[in-house]
């Protein structure tokens, strides 16, 4: 067999960035604006939410033969995620008795094309959980290091919200929030009665224009499909495409990075080898600085696969910590039927592509039997009917009186049933808790000794189990959901999840906020990166995705990825100017 011939591209870029999601897009944008020659390697194809080739926004369910079902896309036919939990030819595995689900989007902008746009800052406490509780890990940084960057991200990208002055839910520079929908007003009122705060949500959606490149939201509720007006944040539309327009960025799509290359003598990174997934050929790019942004688990995979005589455990892994402390948000949910919302007047209730209100963490963990908090996200309203609409009505229509005030048997058929669908439309509410887990050394990903993907790249094997801390938190979520449902005068749907299924706690990975596999720290013995997200072992190697995060708060992580990537980009520029790298 021929040994694959490796073509050497002669050009040496200032920076090679692997991955074009939140972290990679921001680094490409900042570094190119600062004048650096950047090569951006993206495993997926090109994507622009304003190009008709890719647009699904404003399509009707009947334009999909499966009415939007998630057969080939996890979140439905119209969702802007090319990829999912399983990608053909790119397997991963888990050690027996453990579980991890890995969501990947293969496209320009990565998972930011369809993410929920919930854009929360970490609070001061979120950076020092170990000092506060004795478990977990502190960041080598504090809120004050991040605050100026959160401000800059707010201004560059745009986020709506309200000033609340809450201690661990820092306010940002907010655009006006959309008015609550009907069920959201009911939630606010119910919350007041039982002492649970319900405040305007914080989403990166432009309720007002902020520049000439992007339009304002026109309230179609479809951010998950990607916005052709660029009125929501996607790394593709807001960072990558403008970065390419500077003329300083060479974007290479369909470039699946295999390894970071290093110089055997100096131990510095020299570039990246990748597979061109269209021609299936091996390629390399050379660069003076390498920035990893392929998402938390893929970044760990790249480091562990970049083995050499000098780095036998994988690159930047003298600590042995790469892959460890992997942690995802917890999640549990419950639905309810609200009889008061039956027979609603019809009007366009789409609003923005997400909730208009949410509940930030409101309790004190030192008085509870679990160490970390959670927030609650809400759903509901008269949305577009999609695949699944009306299924399972037999679980409900026997429990509420008909128009004549009489009960009828569950299920049924005919004119009466047809009328039930109309009566129940828009009368459901969903709530989902999203909580902070305790990062553990025993939760990790590693290279599977037995498996490679279709490119011949060794794959990941996960080892992840929830601990008691997360299970108890899920129990608390379930109790809270019922309390809220009762305060709303609603009927909880299904049975209350109990100990038999960990109180409905979702399997690790399912909430898609994974962080921690190459964490920052001041001690090179138990961390991979210093506080600038720079590898302790390799000074021209940086990580700008959430692999760098020692913990994640109960805040969805992307706003902090963006702030950190900007902060690290500034540091790279500074270090280059000072000739340190």
């Amino acid at each position: 067999m021929d040994i694959p011939q490796i073509k050497k591209a002669p050009k040496v870029y200032d920076v090679a960035i692997i991955g074009s999601g939140a972290g990679g897009g921001m680094a490409a944008y900042q570094l190119s604006k600062a004048g650096a020659n950047v090569v951006l390697l993206e495993a997926g194809g090109y994507y622009d939410p304003a190009d008709p080739k890719y647009i699904t926004q404003l399509k009707w369910p009947y334009e999909s033969p499966r009415r939007g079902a998630g057969t080939t896309r996890a979140f439905g036919d119209f969702d802007a995620a090319y990829g999912g939990w399983e990608i053909e030819g790119e397997p991963y595995s888990a050690v027996k008795g453990t579980e991890f689900h890995w969501f990947r989007s293969r496209m320009l902008g990565g998972r930011t094309n369809h993410w929920g746009r919930i854009s929360l800052r970490f609070g001061p406490d979120d950076f020092k959980r170990k000092s506060m509780t004795g478990i977990g890990e502190d960041w080598p940084l504090g809120y004050d290091d991040f605050a100026p960057y959160y401000d800059k991200v707010d201004k560059l990208i745009g986020v709506f919200g309200s000033k609340e002055g809450l201690k661990n839910e820092p306010d940002g520079i907010f655009l006006p929030p959309p008015k609550p929908r009907l069920h959201e007003l009911m939630l606010k009122k119910a919350g007041k009665n039982i002492g649970i705060p319900v405040i305007p949500s914080r989403l990166s959606i432009l309720t007002k224009t902020i520049n000439n490149e992007r339009g304002a939201c026109f309230y179609c509720a479809q951010c998950g499909r990607g916005c052709q007006a660029y009125a929501d944040f996607s790394s593709s539309s807001v960072l990558c495409i403008p970065a390419v327009k500077t003329g300083k960025v060479t974007l290479i799509n369909n470039a699946m990075a295999r390894e970071v290359l290093t110089d055997a003598k100096t131990g510095l990174s020299t570039g990246v080898s990748y597979v061109d997934t269209v021609s299936m050929t091996e390629q390399t790019v050379q660069a003076k600085v390498v920035v990893l942004a392929a998402s938390t688990c893929e970044t760990a995979r790249l480091l562990l696969n970049s083995k050499s005589a000098r780095f036998p455990n994988g690159l930047a892994n003298s600590s042995g910590v790469v892959g460890k402390y992997l942690n995802d948000s917890t999640g549990a949910s419950r639905g309810a039927f609200i009889p008061a919302l039956m027979d609603r007047k019809r009007y366009n209730e789409d609003g923005v592509g997400g909730m208009h209100v949410f509940t930030p963490w409101w309790l004190d963990n030192s008085k509870l039997d679990f160490p970390r908090g959670y927030h609650i996200e809400y759903g509901g309203g008269m949305g577009m009917p999609m695949y699944g609409f009306g299924m399972g009505i037999e679980g409900l229509n026997g429990k509420v009186a008909g128009r004549d005030g009489k009960m009828k048997p569950a299920g049924g058929y005919g004119a009466g049933l047809k009328d039930d669908y109309r009566r129940f439309y828009g009368a459901y509410i969903g709530m989902a808790g999203r909580g902070e887990p305790v990062p553990l050394e025993s939760n990790y990903c590693e290279i599977d000794p037995n498996t490679v993907d279709k490119y011949g790249i060794p794959t990941l094997r996960f080892n992840y189990k929830w601990s008691d801390a997360e299970v108890k938190q899920a129990k608390h979520m379930q109790d809270t959901f019922e309390e809220i449902i009762h305060a709303l005068g609603g009927m909880p749907m299904g049975n209350k999840p109990g100990p038999e299924n960990n109180y409905g706690l979702e399997a690790p990975g399912k909430i898609i906020h994974e962080v921690g596999t190459a964490r920052m720290g001041s001690d090179p013995k138990n961390s991979v990166l210093n506080k600038y997200s720079q590898a302790h072992d390799v000074k021209n190697l940086f990580v700008v995705d959430a692999a760098a995060f020692p913990s994640q708060g109960d805040k969805n992580v992307t706003w902090t990825i963006l702030a950190n990537s900007w902060r690290v980009s500034d540091y790279i520029i500074d270090q280059v100017k000072q000739k340190n790298i």
Binding site: Y82, M186, S279, T281, P385, G390, P409
Partner: protein
């Protein structure tokens, strides 16, 4: 980028350059030469468009099975003063597509239809679609109410639940059904909160 995309469709070997890089030549032989190009609609990935086209070209249900699905779906959602019936909204064709799209649905549907026909032959000597309307309704009454149904027809209840669910989804996601349910969105607008009369109806001010 656009240029890159168009370049993808031109193969290097078709330009006579195969000798240049053996890897590219090898990669190209991996693509079977006889795949028909499928038109890719906006918003679809290539593999999805090809998959959809293939499924559309296949047939799963027999004409007799489709006939039964049609009758059943119209019993579940009949026409009324506001809108048409399930079959008028294309429900049988939707179910036909779904069972090809998600093959795990094939046995519950095909088997359920068989179960039903078998019951009808035992009771009335004919298959469901050929029975009188009154006989069909008599049978449906036995399986349409999960909490009242007898254990002997429990499989029929499961099938009818499945059928009811797919009929509802198929109907209310159609143009006719969306109009019926009164969904008014999917169009650019300015959201200003619930209308005043709605706030009043619920005793809300909008500033809760």
């Amino acid at each position: 980028m656009k240029r890159r995309d168009s370049l993808k469709t031109i193969t290097l070997s078709s330009l006579g350059l195969a000798g240049l890089n053996p890897q590219i030549a090898a990669a190209e032989t991996l693509t079977p030469p006889d795949v028909k190009p499928v038109k890719i609609p906006g918003g679809r990935q290539k593999f999805e468009a090809e998959r959809d086209a293939k499924l559309m070209a296949e047939k799963f249900f027999t004409p007799q099975e489709l006939q039964t699905l049609t009758v059943l779906s119209d019993i579940i959602i009949p026409a009324d003063s506001r809108s048409g019936s399930a079959s008028q909204a294309g429900v049988p064709a939707f179910i036909e597509f779904m069972v090809k799209d998600q093959p795990r649905l094939q046995t519950p549907f095909r088997g359920g239809l068989r179960w039903l026909d078998n019951q009808m032959v035992k009771r009335y000597g004919k298959k469901f679609a050929e029975c009188l309307k009154a006989q069909q309704i008599e049978m449906v009454e036995l399986i349409a109410y999960p909490e009242k149904a007898t254990p002997e027809v429990s499989q029929g209840v499961s099938f009818f639940n499945l059928m009811r669910g797919f009929t509802a989804t198929g109907f209310f996601t159609s143009q006719m059904g969306i109009k019926d349910i009164g969904y008014m969105g999917n169009t650019p607008n300015q959201w200003e909160g619930p209308p005043a009369d709605v706030l009043k109806q619920y005793g809300l001010t909008g500033n809760e």
